[in-house]
Symmetry: C2
């Protein structure tokens, strides 16, 4: 009985993982679009105020089970990964 | 025109952030359910094989813009946060 439950829960996890990947990828593409516009405008791409605003909004909507600090930490990692993507892109531009 | 685009893209980001939070929270609750069953069964909660299997499946489905390594890194952080949640839970159990 329990093993069947674990199997079913794991299937749910697998499906959520793929939904997360899809959303994270979509998010990264939007960040790239914003970065492209900002590059054309000649303004800085990283905006700490905007990052703080996004984190505050997330914590405001947090209903658990993660503590607010864990939400902040996790999303900082997500933001960092998107930012890293911009740096990789710049490197590619420099190489061509 | 570009500023209006940035505004719209940022609104999309905000909405994706909240969707991510909701999925991450749902994911964490499922991990907690699995951990509860495993505790009752007296088996170890952390399963490196299962983690590897999930990461492999994610990389298999990765269509960018993240590199596979970035996907692995990001999801390891997500898995770690859920695992950390279990540790916090255990501590709470020890305290009551």
């Amino acid at each position: 009985m329990s093993d069947a439950n674990v199997k079913q829960l794991r299937e749910e996890l697998d499906s959520i993982n793929l939904e997360l990947l899809s959303l994270l990828s979509k998010r990264a593409s939007i960040v790239q679009e914003i970065a492209d516009i900002k590059t054309k405008q000649g303004v800085t791409k990283f905006d700490p105020e905007r990052e703080k605003e996004m984190l505050d909004r997330l914590v405001e909507h947090n209903e658990g089970p993660f503590e607010n600090d864990a939400v902040r930490h996790l999303f900082k990692q997500i933001f960092k990964a998107s930012l890293q993507l911009q740096k990789d892109d710049s490197k590619k531009h420099l190489l061509v």
